[in-house]
């Protein structure tokens, strides 16, 4: 595998995990067939895709090899009946225990530049590959660390909170209102934490599904307070896509060639242009989830 194809593979895996996609309208999501279930024979089937319109698979499937289903007791469940089609992936999760399940994918990437023998080198890939491929103590080393997380939640019988505990890495949603206890027209409160600490002044966007039958996107924008929390009253029952990105330092911008390579960001044809060094160190941590507001 050439370096170029390897980088492409990494980029493809990265975008499949819905890395910051702000440069385009492509949105990664996992939509479970139900978020509230009853009885010990419960299963959910989940659609996972990266699309423009919510929640219609119109662009490409999400790769699900990094998806984890965390059971109420903290154990990891096997995804069943995994299939990837042209536009979406699907998998099933058997809800063997009562309580709340977190289905998620999380990834860490590094974009780096350094100088080797007077030449600017670039790297983009997983944190593990960064450690392997970029020489320790490289000259002029600059890194942008990317963390991204995409989640959804389902509850069988009584909701529980064990599986909702934040890991303390990247940007995460901490429920005040349980994510399977959101009811349209009733206020719900959540909190964002960045590396486990309150993420203040964070712009949060909520977008309702069913866009095809609405003239306007219906986006709801809120901002977190000093404690990282925000309150929102979702107007209608349905599935919502929630997204926030925390950036710091010389993090990738929103313009074209922003460096994080959104979907379709495969290497362009033709001879590669000389590598440009990064402007400085930075980070970008994004969080995405699909939540259901229940009918009152």
């Amino acid at each position: 595998m050439s370096l170029k194809t390897r980088l492409f593979a990494v980029a493809a895996a990265g975008l499949a995990l819905a890395l910051p996609l702000s440069a385009s309208a492509h949105r990664g999501w996992m939509v479970p067939s139900f978020t509230v279930l009853s009885g010990d024979g419960s299963w959910v089937t989940v659609d996972a895709a990266i699309s423009n319109e919510l929640f219609y698979p119109d662009h490409r499937p999400m790769r699900v090899d990094g998806v984890v289903a965390l059971a109420p007791d903290g154990s990891t469940l096997k995804l069943q009946n995994v299939a990837t089609g042209q536009f979406r992936s699907t998998f099933d999760v058997q809800l063997t225990q009562p309580g709340t399940y977190k289905i998620f994918s999380a990834s860490n990437t590094v974009t780096a530049s350094w100088t080797e023998n007077g030449e600017v080198k670039r790297f983009r890939g997983s944190a593990d590959d960064f450690a392997k491929q970029v020489p320790a103590g490289a000259a002029d080393l600059k890194t942008i660390k990317g963390a991204s997380r995409n989640e959804t939640f389902v509850t069988r019988d009584k909701p529980s909170t064990e599986s909702l505990k934040p890991t303390g890495k990247g940007l995460e949603l901490v429920p005040v209102t349980h994510p399977n206890d959101i009811v349209a027209t009733e206020p719900a409160t959540f909190k964002f934490v960045l590396d486990g600490k309150p993420a203040a002044d964070l712009d949060v966007t909520l977008v309702p599904g069913g866009a095809r039958w609405r003239a306007t996107p219906g986006e709801i924008k809120v901002k977190t307070g000093a404690d990282g929390s925000f309150k929102v009253t979702l107007p209608e029952a349905g599935m919502y896509w929630i997204n926030a990105t925390a950036r710091g330092g010389e993090s990738p911008g929103r313009g074209p060639g922003g460096g994080m390579g959104g979907p379709g960001g495969a290497p362009a044809g033709g001879p590669p242009a000389p590598a440009q060094p990064l402007a400085g160190n930075g980070f970008s941590a994004s969080y995405t989830a699909t939540l259901e507001a229940q009918r009152p």
Binding site: L37, G39, D40, G41, K158, Q294
Partner: protein, 176 residues
């Protein structure tokens, strides 16, 4: 009308003061009649119904009956309990099924009369006061509806009725 309201208020206040002195267990029973409507639809299934008590703060103060298909071989009928969504969120999800004295079979169209004994189940420990009796129905390949009828627990009262518009007909509640 005005007169009966003030009488009711007076009676309620009297019951409240009496209730403080009297033993909490009331001999009264809760008589409920639920009209399961006859529907002309291509695919008809008898509705799942939860009959529960709602306190003044909208929390659930007890579940009196759940009519569902507990004999279903597939999943013992529990799969669709969540569809009585208000009850499920406030009470059902905390319970285990089948529930003694609560679980029952689905009922056919027509008036369904049930008497809940004040000496048993959720009513046994229900404090005197103002409540809603909620009848919540969910029908497979059909709709969902909840009908609320206010009642005062702690003394005999007059029948009160509310009507559903789709999945339920008249619901009448009578403490005696």
């Amino acid at each position: 009308m005005k007169r009966s309201v003030s009488l009711l208020t007076f009676a309620g206040a009297a019951a409240g003061s009496l209730g403080a002195a009297a033993a909490p267990a009331m001999a009264a029973d809760l008589n409920v009649t639920v009209e399961v409507p006859r529907l002309s639809v291509a695919e008809y299934h008898k509705p799942y119904v939860a009959i529960w008590i709602e306190a003044a703060d909208a929390s659930a103060a007890g579940t009196l009956a759940v009519w569902y298909d507990a004999d279903s071989k597939e999943d013992h009928g529990t799969k669709w309990l969540k569809d009585m969504r208000q009850w499920w969120r406030k009470a059902g999800r905390e319970m285990s099924f089948p529930a003694d004295g609560v679980s029952g079979a689905t009922r056919a169209p027509g008036p369904q009369k049930v008497v809940f004994s004040g000496a048993k189940g959720a009513l046994k420990s229900l404090k005197p006061g103002q409540y809603n009796l909620v009848v919540e129905a969910a029908r497979e390949v059909g709709g969902h509806e909840a009908v609320r009828v206010p009642f005062v627990w702690g003394k005999p009262g007059k029948p009160a009725t509310a009507k559903g518009s789709a999945e339920l007909g008249a619901v009448t509640v009578f403490v005696k």
